[in-house]
Each structure stands twice: as structure tokens, then as C-alpha cells.
């Protein structure tokens, strides 16, 4: 029997285990939306802006480990996905973005709502396709999902002209992928693993530096085993939060620009740095020549291009983090505790703990601590926007499991949190999902409140409202002589009324003693989103702070 390209697309997605798509219709997608009308297997979530679709698919992927799928029409619909695709690319998130395209006879003629999507997305996708023939569609879908989820994960875009959706084919889904040129290397080289074993045996003051690769590869158990077997302290990147239990005695928290002082001192002093699924981002390393200056570096990563990209590496191991760690653990003898090194770290922890001054208005750090106290025993997913609130949420909440921290790391995308929280809640319906937001970020995709309300998503949106673009203001204060050029958001709208207008619950908190009751009230509401507008201290800063260009041990601590 012959079926249309649109039906073949839905069948193919079903084959890939897709049960939810975040999308927004448009002219060229009408054949697909018509095919969806009768289809009950794949749930389509109507967002209110395509950027919301991309971030929702991304949040879904981060919360579940599955491939997130988003859909947009040609031209402006498709270009609205760009920020979301770039966000997923920078954080190596498995995503398939499907875009409609003008019919093949109209391609290249500047037709109505035509944009060269494969051209535009080339630098921000792992791979992309323009489907020219309906017969190619099942194969391309198969390849796209395979590419998105294997190796270093990433977004793949499939651009489908309208006639490709209409034309009919004899449908058969391919059994396997045949990609001559794409063969990721999963197993670490045994010789390199032996070198790592030797380096570990010789190390006196080692530190493990774990990134998002630990979470992508589902290697948190192996990481914990390695740390405990060797008694090595573990610091994580922003993307690696949750890859190692934050409450573990060997945990150093985050390193880098807003890392803990003890993580930054430990990395600066260490003689062996074991980088696991992390990429030496400039926000982590600070002044590159003065980063871990005395350390031998072991770098484990599935992407060979990451090795030696930013720092010199002594023992490079290309492979899947989980498999490499398993191989390493099998060969590694237990290592005696280096007590003086752990004592030194303990001293730093005692001397420079994460802290803040309690006086001077409602403190954002206090709000995060209260949230942690209230929710630590529940399955809680914290999603963030980007800015100061993001750093506080990373610092003052403890994450003991992977996939409970969802944040835009590499691209630093404001407006990510709310739609990503929607996606996370769809993926983990039983979890408590909290979007920690700033007043700047929340206004970037606030229309996605409708998506949440319509789907009765009980997400909580905690806006830490300081009437500023806080992080930019912090830089202006510390580096640009307090010239608060265009960072004051003094005429913010009434966010409580906005929440209510969308059909969500809106609450406002201005004092410490109101924090806990308001949170408890929000947590009790399970049939719609709740937004709490926390009116916080205006000029609170995120400390520690490594000024740009400095080494990471040259921090402003408070």
C-alpha cells in the first residue's frame, strides 16, 4: 500500500520511539498536520512560538535522555528554531528538528516563506538534510535519529519540501543505518587507558573535572566509583552538575568563573586533572596558561576534536565516557587516601564556603536554600534561565542525581527555562519541575505560559526579580564603574497579573518569612503552573567571581 510522505514521516517517527513532538503549524506543513489529525500515536504539543518548541524538545531530551523532536514551518517558522537548535548544539543535546520547506519546484526562487535552512543551520547542527524525494524520507529519519543520539549527541535538522510530504511511496522503514563515513569510536584505546592507570597511581594531588558527557553517557555510577576508589575530589562544570552527587564529601561543586573557591584552588594546585566528558570551556579555565599549571591532564571524551583543542593533554582517551571508565576501573587498583591533600581541601572548604550576607533585603540565595530544604526529598527537576539566578541555582541547590539540573550552558540562552521546563514536565510527569528565572529571562519566552496552562502542567516558575539584567549589571558594577547602561528593567510588567492573565496562578513574595509559605502553596497546586514573583535585593552579586582574563584562583570571593 502506498502512503503519503507525511504519513511516512509519522510512521518513521513512531519507529524511532517518538511519542511527543513540540511544534507550530504553517502553510507548507498542512499535509503533515492533516495526517496528524487522524494519528493518535504521537502527541503534538502546540507551543506559542517556535523557539519554545525547540527549547521544549531540548528540555524533554535533557530530562529523559531521549531524542527531543520539534517541528516548524518554512521560512520564519524555521528560523525561529535557530536559537533553540544552537542551544542544543552547544550543549550536545540529542534533538531532531523538522522544518517544512517550499515545494521543490519553488526552491531557490525566493518563494513565499522560503529560507535556506540547511545553509543557515550548517554551523549549529551535527548534520542536516534537505529531503528531495519522498522515497528518501524513511532512510533520512533513521539516519537523523542515529546521528543525533550516538557519538557526541547533537541536533539534526531535516528540511522537508511540501511536495515531499504529499507524494506517495511504498513505505518500508530501514532496519539499519548505513553511513559509510560516520563511525564514532566508543571504546577507549587500551594503551591510553594503561597510561591513565599509571598517571593515577603516581598522582598525589588529583582532581576529577566532570562535564556534561558524564550525564550524556549515563556514567554517573562509574564516576562515583572512580572517585571513591581513588579518593579523588570531584568538581563539575555547569553541564556536569548532577553527574556526581553534590552532597558527597568528595564533591567540590562547580569550578571556573562562578565556581567554588575550593574547587578553583584545588584545580590550580593539583598534580593530576582527570577531565571526563568536559571540554575546557573558557568559563571554566579562565586564563588558559595559568589553568592547572602543575597538572598532568587525562582527557576522556567521545569527540576527538575536543582533545587538545584548548589545553595540552598528556593522556588523551577517545571513547564513550561510560565505557572508558568501566575499562579504567577494571584495571585500576584501589588507591590509598592522600590525607594531606584531602585535609588541604577540607581547610579551603572551611575557610571559603559558599555564603552570602543575610542583611539587605530578600536574598536570592536564601530562596534557593529554602527551595532545597523543601524539595530535597522529592524528585525535583530544576530548570533555569540564564544569568545570576542560574548561578545561584547551581550553587545553593544540591543535585545528587543526573538529569535533575537543566540549564543552557554553552550558548547561555535567556528564555530557555520556561519552555524547557514545559518539555521536562512532559518527559517526567511525576517530577516536580521548577523553572528558576530572572525578570529579564522570563520575559523572553513568557508566551509559553499558555502551553503550560493548556496542558495543565504543574510547573513552578520562581522569578528572582531584582529589576535588573543582574549578571550584566554585576559586570557593569565590577568592571565598568557602575555604569548601569540599559540594564535596569524598572518598568517590568506586573508578573503576578501576567501569570493570572494566562490562566496560571500568580503569587508575590517580598519578605523572608513569606518565602516558605508561598512555596508550600505553589507546591500544592497540581493542575496549572504557578509563578512566584520574588522581589529580591537589587544589587546582590554572584560570588566567587573570576574576572575575565584572570586565572581561576584569582577570585573575588565576596
Amino acid at each position: 500500500m502506498e502512503i503519503s510522505g507525511a504519513q511516512a514521516l509519522l510512521e518513521s517517527l513512531k519507529h524511532e520511539g517518538v511519542d511527543i513532538i513540540f511544534g507550530y503549524p504553517g502553510g507548507v506543513l498542512l499535509p503533515l498536520y492533516d495526517a496528524m489529525y487522524a494519528n493518535k500515536d504521537i502527541k503534538h504539543i502546540l507551543v506559542r512560538h517556535e523557539q519554545g518548541a525547540a527549547h521544549a524538545a531540548d528540555g524533554y531530551a535533557r530530562a529523559t535522555g531521549k531524542v527531543g523532536v520539534c517541528l516548524a514551518t518554512s521560512g520564519p517558522g524555521a528560523t525561529n528554531l535557530i536559537t533553540g537548535i544552537a542551544t542544543a548544539y552547544m550543549d550536545s543535546i540529542p534533538m531532531v528538528a523538522i522544518t517544512g520547506q517550499v515545494a521543490t519546484p519553488l526552491l531557490g526562487r525566493d518563494s513565499f516563506q522560503e529560507a535556506d535552512l540547511t545553509g543557515i543551520t550548517m554551523p549549529i547542527t551535527k548534520h542536516n538534510y534537505l529531503v528531495k524525494k519522498t522515497e528518501d524520507l524513511p532512510r533520512i529519519i533513521k539516519e537523523a535519529f542515529y546521528i543525533a543520539r550516538t557519538g557526541r549527541p547533537g541536533p539534526v535538522l531535516i528540511d522537508i519540501p511540501k511536495d515531499v510530504l504529499v507524494n506517495k511511496i511504498k513505505y518500508k522503514y530501514p532496519d539499519k543505518v548505513e553511513l559509510e563515513s560516520y563511525k564514532p569510536n566508543f571504546e577507549g584505546h587500551p594503551k591510553q587507558i594503561n597510561m591513565a592507570v599509571k598517571a593515577i597511581a603516581a598522582a598525589q594531588k588529583a582532581v576529577i573535572y566532570a562535564g556534561g558527557g558524564v550525564i550524556a553517557s549515563d556514567a554517573n555510577k562509574e564516576l562515583k566509583e572512580l572517585a571513591e576508589k581513588c579518593n579523588f575530589p570531584v568538581t563539575t562544570t555547569l553541564m556536569g552538575i548532577g553527574g556526581f552527587p553534590g552532597t558527597h564529601e568528595l564533591s567540590l561543586g562547580m569550578l571556573g568563573m562562578h565556581g567554588t573557591a575550593y574547587a578553583n584552588y584545588a584545580v590550580t594546585e593539583c598534580d593530576l586533572l582527570i577531565s571526563i566528558g568536559a571540554r575546557f570551556d573558557d568559563r571554566v579555565t579562565g586564563h588558559i596558561a595559568r589553568f592547572a599549571p602543575n597538572a598532568k591532564i587525562i582527557h576522556i571524551d567521545i569527540d576527538p576534536a575536543e582533545i587538545g583543542k584548548n589545553v595540552r593533554v598528556d593522556v588523551p582517551i577517545v571513547g564513550d565516557v561510560k565505557k572508558v571508565l568501566q575499562a579504567l576501573l577494571a584495571k585500576l587498583p584501589a588507591k590509598e587516601k592522600n590525607q594531606p591533600w584531602l585535609d588541604q581541601i577540607g581547610e579551603w572548604k572551611k575557610k571559603f564556603p559558599l555564603s552570602y550576607k543575610k542583611e539587605g533585603g530578600l536574598k536570592p540565595q536564601f530562596i534557593i536554600e529554602e527551595l532545597y530544604a523543601l524539595t530535597k526529598d522529592r524528585e525535583t527537576v530544576i530548570v533555569t534561565e540564564v544569568g545570576q539566578h542560574q548561578m545561584w541555582a547551581g550553587m545553593f541547590y544540591q543535585y545528587d542525581k543526573p538529569r535533575n539540573w537543566i540549564s543552557s550552558g554553552g550558548l547561555g540562552t535567556m528564555g530557555f527555562g520556561l519552555p524547557a521546563a514545559n518539555g521536562a514536565q512532559f518527559g517526567r510527569p511525576n517530577a516536580l519541575v521548577v523553572d528558576i528565572a530572572g525578570d529579564g529571562s522570563i520575559q523572553m519566552n513568557i508566551q509559553e505560559l499558555t502551553t503550560a496552562v493548556n496542558n495543565r502542567l504543574p510547573i513552578k516558575i520562581f522569578v528572582l526579580n531584582n529589576c535588573f539584567l543582574g549578571m550584566v549589571r554585576q559586570w557593569q558594577e565590577l568592571i565598568y564603574d557602575r555604569h548601569y547602561s540599559h540594564t535596569q528593567l524598572c518598568n517590568n510588567p506586573d508578573l503576578v497579573k501576567i501569570a493570572e492573565a494566562y490562566g496560571a496562578v500568580g503569587l508575590r513574595v517580598t519578605k523572608e518569612e513569606e518565602v516558605r509559605p508561598a512555596m508550600e502553596k505553589a507546591l500544592a497546586i497540581n493542575d496549572r503552573p504557578v509563578l512566584i514573583d520574588f522581589v529580591t535585593a537589587k544589587e546582590e552579586n554572584v560570588f566567587p567571581f573570576v574576572p575575565p582574563g584572570q586565572a581561576i584562583n584569582e577570585m573575588i570571593i565576596d
Binding site: H127, L130, D303, P304, A305, K309
Partner: protein, 160 residues
């Protein structure tokens, strides 16, 4: 430092843009780029001449391998590679200069491929030095038009 990079890719639409775009995005200047199919029609070979130090080269090779359509990437070292370029040069010519031009072309083992009343078009094949040498000697006659294919190269023997 000048590098000749040979990239074996699947012969699909858009691959050239992907490869060239990767160089541009990462700030590498392409000096020349030549593309054609290989003995297998669905595989193409690109020869790219670019400037960069050893670290740049290592990174660009790794990044090229990240492209899904890339099959193999080689850095062709000058002493182990055969490198050739074809150039077509149209020079001004008349009865007085035609013979001298022909002599120069012979020395470079080139070929005259077109003769007109006021011009001659010459084909020269060789490495970069040879092509540049011929170009220099022909300049005094007045070069009307010139086109170079860009370098192509292969490793000597069965080194690949």
C-alpha cells in the same frame, strides 16, 4: 605554514559548502580548493591549500572528521606528495613575440592551446613554483587573462 589537506568525502550536494564553511568559521584562510570525483563516482576528493601552524592543522583535521560526510582526511607533506596545478594563461602576442613566447612555453613543457591574431593561450601543468615561474616570465608580454585550478595532490607510493 602552508599545508595541503586532502579530504575524501561522499559526493553529495552541500558537502563542498560544509567543508569550506568549516574553514571560514574557524578562521582558516583557504588559499586554493580543488574538487573532483575519484575512481568511485560517489566519492569526491577535495584538495585544500591553507595556512596554519601544526596545532591549527590538527584541529582542522579533527573538525573535518566531525562532518558526517567526511571519510578520510590527509595532510600531504611536501616531501612525500605529488602536487600539481593547471594554469591557463592568455598573453598578448604578435608576429614579433609569438616565437619567444613559444620558446618559454617549451622550456616549461607547456602547450599552446589557442592562437589568435593578438593573443596566445597557454596551458602549463606543474607544482606551484613552476606555474609561478612561467607566469613571471610571461608577464612582460602582457597577461590578458589567467586562471588556475588550484593544487591537487596525492601521496607518493602506497603511503595513504
Amino acid at each position: 605554514m602552508r599545508h595541503i589537506i586532502s579530504v575524501v568525502v561522499e559526493n553529495k550536494p552541500g558537502v563542498l559548502t560544509r567543508v569550506a564553511g568549516l574553514f571560514a568559521r574557524r578562521g582558516f584562510n583557504i588559499e586554493s580548493l580543488a574538487v573532483g570525483t575519484t575512481e568511485t563516482p560517489d566519492i569526491s576528493r577535495m584538495t585544500i591549500v591553507a595556512e596554519g601552524d601544526e596545532q591549527d592543522l590538527e584541529q582542522i583535521i579533527k573538525q573535518l572528521y566531525k562532518l558526517i560526510d567526511t571519510m578520510k582526511v590527509f595532510d600531504l607533506p611536501a616531501d612525500k606528495a605529488i602536487e600539481r596545478e593547471l594554469v591557463l594563461i592568455k598573453v598578448a602576442a604578435n608576429d614579433k613575440t609569438r616565437q619567444e613566447i613559444t620558446q618559454i612555453v617549451d622550456i616549461f613543457r607547456g602547450k599552446v592551446v589557442d592562437v589568435a591574431e593578438t593573443s596566445m593561450t597557454i596551458e602549463i601543468v606543474g607544482d606551484e613554483n613552476k606555474v609561478s615561474g612561467a607566469e613571471k616570465l610571461l608577464t612582460k608580454f602582457g597577461i590578458r587573462e589567467l586562471v588556475r585550478t588550484g593544487v591537487i595532490g596525492l601521496m607518493r607510493g602506497s603511503a595513504e
